[in-house]
């Protein structure tokens, strides 16, 4: 959620039961402002909170001019001091895929993973147990990246793409209509499109290239991994992801308010197919 409208956004997203205490909100307001100034970001988003055993991580993201461009993630343990996280790489993702369980809450904590590796010495090849140390920081980075790629969403029309390339916030976005806000197709993944090029020409003919340049939620696998609810009568639409439980997206139809926040343990819900 945008740090500009932090308090309102926290209120709207509180239906999932996760909130922040008043002192944290107050510290976030000031510290995010300072982050914006120091790192010269166009927008700073409060991404959410990953619950650890010993401590919790508060995550923020900073965006440059291009909304779909590179995003920098920062974490903090006390909502005041923010540290930059390294960008996510493929190797990190592969390495941390083996780590399971909760986050500890200590960024320097190392997970030990025992792997069988083939070692060759001379003519002999034998398997040996190798203990690989994985830092919690890398795990944090890859989890944030996975969550972003999988479930960060934005309503259709909130961003538009200029012919020169960069993606801008649409200042004339007045919000989705009520009928649109109940449909999954009005929400897009807030990430570079993957499925878009696989669409047939017939489907693409109806799309507007300046608005429909991201993947919509309609074809997410598994089907039904989003729960759409209207709260307060029809005044607020809340989408919750079932694949990454803890991600809540809210939008007040016909207004500009929208945003998402993740508050959870940072673990994917692999049992989803059994649970639907």
């Amino acid at each position: 959620m945008d740090s500009e409208s932090l308090l309102l956004s926290l209120e709207l997203a509180s239906g999932s039961g996760q909130g922040l205490s008043p002192d944290r909100r107050a510290s976030l307001l000031t510290s995010l402002l300072l982050v914006k100034r120091d790192y010269r970001y166009e927008r700073v988003l409060f991404w959410g909170r990953i619950l650890g055993l010993v401590a919790d991580y508060y995550i923020a993201q900073g965006l440059g001019e291009d909304q779909l461009g590179e995003r920098k993630s920062l974490y903090s343990l006390n909502c005041m001091e923010w540290s930059l996280l390294p960008p996510a790489t493929e190797e990190m993702a592969a390495q941390t895929a083996v780590v399971k369980g909760r986050f500890m809450g200590d960024p320097s904590h190392e997970y030990e993973h025992i792997e069988m590796q083939r070692m060759t010495e001379g003519d002999r090849t034998y398997e040996d147990e190798v203990v690989i140390q994985i830092k919690e920081e890398s795990r944090l980075v890859s989890v944030i990246d996975q969550i972003d790629k999988a479930v960060a969403i934005i309503p259709r029309g909130a961003l538009f793409k200029t012919p020169f390339g960069p993606v801008h916030v649409n200042r004339t976005f007045e919000g989705l209509t009520l009928a649109d806000s109940k449909k999954l197709s009005s929400y897009f993944h807030f990430v570079e499109p993957v499925e878009l090029k696989n669409k047939s020409l017939l489907e693409k003919a109806d799309l507007d290239p300046s608005l429909d340049f991201m993947d919509s939620l309609e074809h997410d696998i598994p089907k039904g991994s989003w729960s759409i609810q209207m709260e307060r009568g029809n005044a607020l639409v809340v989408l919750r992801s079932l694949l990454w439980p803890g991600l809540t997206f809210y939008h007040a139809p016909r207004t500009k308010n929208h945003g998402y926040i993740y508050v959870g343990t940072g673990e994917k819900n692999i049992d989803l197919p059994f649970m639907l």
């Binding site: 039961g17 996760q18 055993l53 538009f160 200042r171 007045e174 729960s227 009568g233 049992d271 649970m275």
Partner: protein, 675 residues
């Protein structure tokens, strides 16, 4: 425009005085004849247009007036070298002017038709918010011109106050090919015709709707001028789209209610009733008060919220007054027993029939269903409290049925999301005995048993009543509030888990809090029924024991080296005001907090237990044998012909041998007899 050659100024001023007089003449003529006349009107309009539409920020008049005077100036400069055709120069100056209007080009009338220089001195202040009325007395009225065209009659409203300013000022929308290429003819008449053609083209309605480009641009510019956004060029496309959409999707009439917002208003109406009753109470409490009034409730507590796919559940934990609920339970039990007896009776009849037709019936399977474990009585164990749920505040509360051990056992084996509708069937393996209402109740029971905690000392056991042995070693199951409870400091509550205790009973693997031997019940059934063989086949069941009530959290089992609880201070910055908060890692979403002498438990989550391993559904059991294997059900091959013959031969031989023996015996007997 500003860098006019200085020497031209003199000629310009001379020309301007001439032009002034001619402008006044023109004005007179035009005010009398509202119809389109000559190029003068066009030029006037054009120049007015150039004066009228200001740039997006302030100071509109002056630069424009300079521009317009620049036009005659440049015209003057054109004029000075000679009265040659003015096509060349204006075309050159087009790029200088950049995005200047088309009409500015058109406004390049030959020098004999002067520019209405009278408009030039008007200051910028007049072009702030549009004040057409001020100008109307001095200026021409383009309105008659515009209204004369039938296309625009319905457009009066959308033009609004911009009667004077021609919205077609912004030439950048225009097709760039229009102006310079067509601007060949020096005579005013054909040019006027050209203007008319251009305008007619613009007024052509689009194929898809009744909107014409002209009207659309009018709307667009009106919107921009009204809203004055920053950097309008950057958001041009978006505004364009928005205006188009607005035209197509008109806002609803203010007299009629918006149908989409109806549910919101209804909701709000219902909730308003809640708020009117008392001042300063939270919504939940109001809800519970309504619940309290409808049902004979003694104690009521907000238990929490369970999220669902389509709707959520708000759960209230309720304790009824004594005696109120018992009646319902008895009725239910009678029904069950009556049904049971009916079944038994039918079983007996079938048994009799079976004896008669025993030969024809296929063999019966030997599997008997395991004995049903009876559910706990109300107010005890897992059924200590009654739970009501509702979907949203303002909706009626629904009572959830009591939970049976079978439901708890099954709920442990499945993991399903709640949809939000109580009557959804649960499709799962092993099949869950009940609908979503029972599954919800079972999960609530499990969560309560696992996560309802209180600070040490808040509750204490009642007076010592007899020995523990009488209760079957299950421990005490009642507690009461400790009136002497002083409260534990927040820091200590956070530091040590031993300061918190469970105050709900643990649910045994059997599905109950107090253990019941299922074999005892089946003995009663034997008396009623006929089948007596069952007792032999029942297995010995061990008694199950769980941790006693009021055990501290430090004794909770770890989940794979993971602490089952996490304790935090709610506000590390100012510990003297903060609340001790503890959250469960086993049931994510369960929280408890305490400060001083107050504490509370709440659950907000999806209603599932946390497990690090993936969920593995139970496998179906092995295939059972259908019937007892015995000689009469065993399949044997029929003997072949050879075998039959061999058998026959053997039998004959045996018979022959037997006859010989008999003969021998008879002979012997005869011999014996002879002797």
């Amino acid at each position: 425009m500003e860098e006019q050659p200085q020497d031209e100024k003199k000629s310009q001023s001379r020309r301007q005085s001439l032009e002034t007089r001619e402008a006044q003449d023109r004005r007179r003529t035009l005010s009398q004849t509202p119809s389109v006349t000559g190029p003068t009107d066009v030029s006037a309009r054009g120049s007015r247009g150039s004066l009228g539409a200001p740039p997006s920020r302030g100071s509109p008049g002056l630069p424009l007036s300079q521009k317009s005077s620049g036009a005659p100036g440049s015209q003057g400069s054109l004029g000075a070298p000679g009265e040659e055709a003015t096509e060349g120069k204006p075309m050159e100056s087009v790029p200088q002017m950049g995005s200047q209007s088309l009409h500015h080009l058109v406004g390049f009338v030959p020098s004999d038709v002067s520019m209405p220089e009278t408009y030039a001195p008007m200051g910028g202040s007049q072009f702030g918010p549009y004040q057409p009325m001020d100008m109307s007395s001095d200026t021409f009225q383009p309105e008659p011109l515009l209204s004369s065209s039938s296309y625009l009659e319905e457009d009066e409203g959308s033009h609004g106050p911009y009667t004077i300013d021609d919205p077609l000022f912004r030439g950048s929308y225009m097709e760039p090919s229009f102006g310079p290429l067509d601007y060949e003819l020096p005579e005013p008449e054909p040019r006027e015709l050209m203007i008319q053609n251009a305008k007619a083209y613009l007024l052509k309605t689009s194929v898809k709707c009744d909107l014409s480009l002209y009207e659309h641009l009018v709307n667009l510019l009106t919107k921009i001028l009204n809203e004055r956004p920053e950097d309008p060029l950057a958001i041009l496309e978006s505004m364009n789209r928005t205006v188009q959409q607005d035209w197509f999707h008109k806002k609803l009439d203010t007299l009629r209610d918006d149908p989409e917002m109806q549910p919101t208003y209804e909701m709000a109406e219902k909730q308003k009733i809640l708020f009117l009753r008392g001042a300063g109470e939270g919504e939940q409490e109001m809800e519970e008060e309504m619940l309290v009034e409808q049902q004979p409730v003694q104690k009521c507590r907000f238990w929490g919220k369970i999220l669902g796919l389509q709707r959520n559940y708000l759960v209230a934990e309720v304790e009824f007054r004594e005696g109120e609920e018992e009646e319902e339970e008895e009725e239910a039990e009678e029904l069950v027993e009556g049904a049971g007896e009916g079944m038994e009776g039918r079983g007996e009849e079938e048994g009799e029939e079976d004896e008669e037709k025993d030969v024809d019936e296929p063999p019966k399977p030997t599997w008997k269903p395991p004995p049903v474990i009876p559910r706990e009585d109300s107010r005890t164990g897992a059924n200590k409290y009654l739970y009501f749920v509702c979907n949203e505040p303002g909706r009626p509360w629904t009572k959830l049925p009591h939970v049976t051990p079978a439901q708890i056992v099954n709920a442990r084996k499945i993991k399903k999301f709640f949809t939000g509708h109580l009557d959804t069937p649960i499709v799962s393996y092993p099949p869950f005995p009940g609908t979503e209402a029972s599954y919800l109740r079972a999960q609530i029971a499990r969560i309560s048993a696992g996560t309802q905690i209180s600070p040490l000392g808040f509750y204490q056991f009642g007076e010592e009543e007899g020995d523990e042995e009488e209760e079957g070693g299950a421990g005490r199951d009642s507690y009461e509030e400790n009136p002497d409870f002083e409260g534990i400091p927040v820091a200590e509550l956070v530091d040590s888990l031993a300061n918190w205790v469970h105050h709900t009973q643990h649910i045994l693997p059997q599905g109950r809090c107090t253990w019941v031997n299922p074999n005892q019940k089946s003995e009663e059934e034997e008396e009623l029924g006929e089948e007596g063989e069952k007792a032999d086949e029942l297995e010995e069941v061990e008694q199950e024991i769980g941790p006693p009530l009021l055990t501290p959290l430090s004794e909770d089992a770890e989940i794979l080296q993971l602490a089952p609880w996490t304790a935090r201070l709610s506000c590390p910055l100012c510990p003297q005001y903060s609340v001790a908060m503890i959250r469960s890692n086993l049931w994510p979403g369960a929280y408890a907090y305490a400060i001083g002498r107050k504490f509370e438990n709440i659950y907000i989550g999806w209603g599932h237990k946390y497990s690090q391993e993936n969920f593995n559904p139970t496998l179906p059991p092995a295939v059972q044998t259908e019937y007892v294997i015995g000689p009469e059900t065993m399949e044997m091959a029929d003997p072949t012909v050879e075998e039959e013959q061999a058998l026959k031969a053997a039998q004959e031989q045996a018979l022959a041998a037997a006859e010989e023996e008999e003969e021998d015996e008879e002979d012997e007997e005869d011999e014996d007899a002879d002797d």
